[in-house]
Symmetry: none
Subunit: 190 residues, 4 copies
């Protein structure tokens, strides 16, 4: 693995473990197995790694969506989307949250839209096709709704895994309720 990649991976580990505040470049380089000075050949600060981390996360989610959201009724596809986002959130725990904040705290806020665009687009396309197939309400604004859905699902996933620490059973019931909520919201049940 090349140096840059190793830095990003190490940064993910350290940020997840210590949070942005307590994470130090010293620890990142130690974990990456490179010299202190080498870090600066690739990044200017620990927060400068964030966009790369965000990109990696979005890529993971997209890969998940592409592979796990099957063709079929949109109702079922929503279930798949929820499942994927929950899985990734659980896997990377606090990281999802940190990315938001990490980007916010820097000059990289602007990158946000850019980085998440593919994800929003993917869901928007799915809604668009659903709309054309008259599988959801005709008055749904696909652009806005894509973001609302992703925001809702991520928000609940964070609740469930980061704050409430629910047991597996409760999580399933939560996901079902959320599924019903979103499906109704876009009229996927008619």
């Amino acid at each position: 693995m090349d140096k840059r990649e190793r830095i990003i991976q190490a940064a993910i580990d350290v940020f997840s473990d210590k949070g942005i505040e307590k994470a130090t470049i010293s620890e990142i380089v130690k974990k990456a197995g490179i010299a202190q000075g080498t870090f600066y050949l690739y990044f200017n600060s620990k927060l400068a790694v964030m966009p790369d981390i965000a990109e990696l996360m979005v890529r993971k989610i997209l890969e998940g969506l592409t592979s796990e959201v099957k063709d079929g009724p949109i109702d079922q596809q929503i279930g798949d989307i929820i499942h994927v986002i929950f899985k990734i959130t659980n896997e990377y725990k606090v990281l999802t949250k940190l990315i938001y904040t990490g980007l916010t705290q820097t000059q990289y806020v602007g990158s946000w839209e850019e980085i998440y665009a593919p994800l929003y687009n993917w869901v928007e396309n799915l809604l668009q096709r659903g709309k054309e197939a008259q599988a959801i309400n005709s008055d749904v604004n696909t652009k806005f709704t894509a973001k609302i859905i992703i925001g809702s699902v991520e928000s609940v996933a964070e609740q469930v895994y980061l704050y409430d620490h629910l047991d597996e059973d409760s999580i399933i019931r939560y996901k079902n309720e959320l599924h019903k909520f979103v499906a109704n919201a876009i009229g996927a049940y008619r």
Copy 2:
């Protein structure tokens, strides 16, 4: 105003301005007009102020909900809720986001549920009454749905104000779409 209160206010200012990372105790005490050592009589670290800030935010939102969500059809009440949360989010900008992260990064994660409980309860009660009046779907789990709604609305508000920096007109259209989304989700339109 007593010392503790002044620290909290100063911390809000500094966190909002600099973010958690760059905020320093030195600056907080300067803004609060107290001595360096005095800070430590009340808090152990800058992050230890977070639970108090969160509590203040929740109190603000609750006050907003109590005063601005009128009696009337539940559909309209949802509009009011969205309006209140958007207003507070805009007012405190990054702070909402920082609280999440600030609590996550510390030993105070546990406080989260406790602090937000009143807010969740308030919405849950509203849903409960709507259910009893058969104004919303009978199969709605009020506890889960309360959290889903608050999460969704906050998530969209943050999108709108923190990342997308939308113009006023787009925000209104976004709010309308969100309103429709939530109302449909719980079956408030039948």
Copy 3:
């Protein structure tokens, strides 16, 4: 117990526990159950308590000597002296050492001679009587030898209790060797 006495006792506890370096007035007053400011009505600094502590220690040793060193052959009296000093050293552990250092580090070094004088005198008198009774070498300088004996015994006691942490059995053998050493040194066996 009056305030002054309580401060001295608390200081003994804290110094024993934390050492001079880490001991703080804050902790002493907490242990003494008095207010922060009250300390200064009795002492100017934590080290200013040292002479009082030293006096208390010397008093303890003197009481021990007076009560436990019986009339009889000087050889046996030496054994008693060793026993008393070992007992007190064990009881107050590091404190003996700290007193030396505590006094050294301050303006109170001068007090040292004054405070220890009674102890030296007591042993000197014992040697003097031994000399007159021709129970020890006639060329012993009682003044110097008194100090040498006390120094040796304290030194060994500290070795045994503070550094080597010997078991009870080894300590007894050590004491016996020391006893023989001192008795021979002053010619108490002829």
Copy 4:
């Protein structure tokens, strides 16, 4: 001279001058001519330098013993030992005392035995040879007695130089008395 060595030398100076209590890392680094942060690359606290200082002291004493204690009657060798320890104690004044205390006050107490071992061994060997040559009492426990002798001599040296501040003439008489004391103690005069 390498950084570590410079820190140790500077620490010796500052400790000797100010005592443990008043010595600061800031002053040590200033005297060593290095940056504040550099200190922490080698030691964690000012007391962490103590074991190194102790080692240096022991080395000095050993060098003194090796070079100044001549072959010859054991009686005379004892005189040499006393002379060396007095000289070093005078040269380093308070430092000898501080080492004891410095080590006591920290996690490094354990190091004590280890550091002093060579010194004890050296004297023990000398006694052993004296015993084999029947120059001293046959019932002397060389291990214990080595420690007793070193302890006694150091104790008296500290008395003389640190507390009593005796004049040169009195010191010579004190040394003579001590010499006689130790020689008699082990039966070196027969």
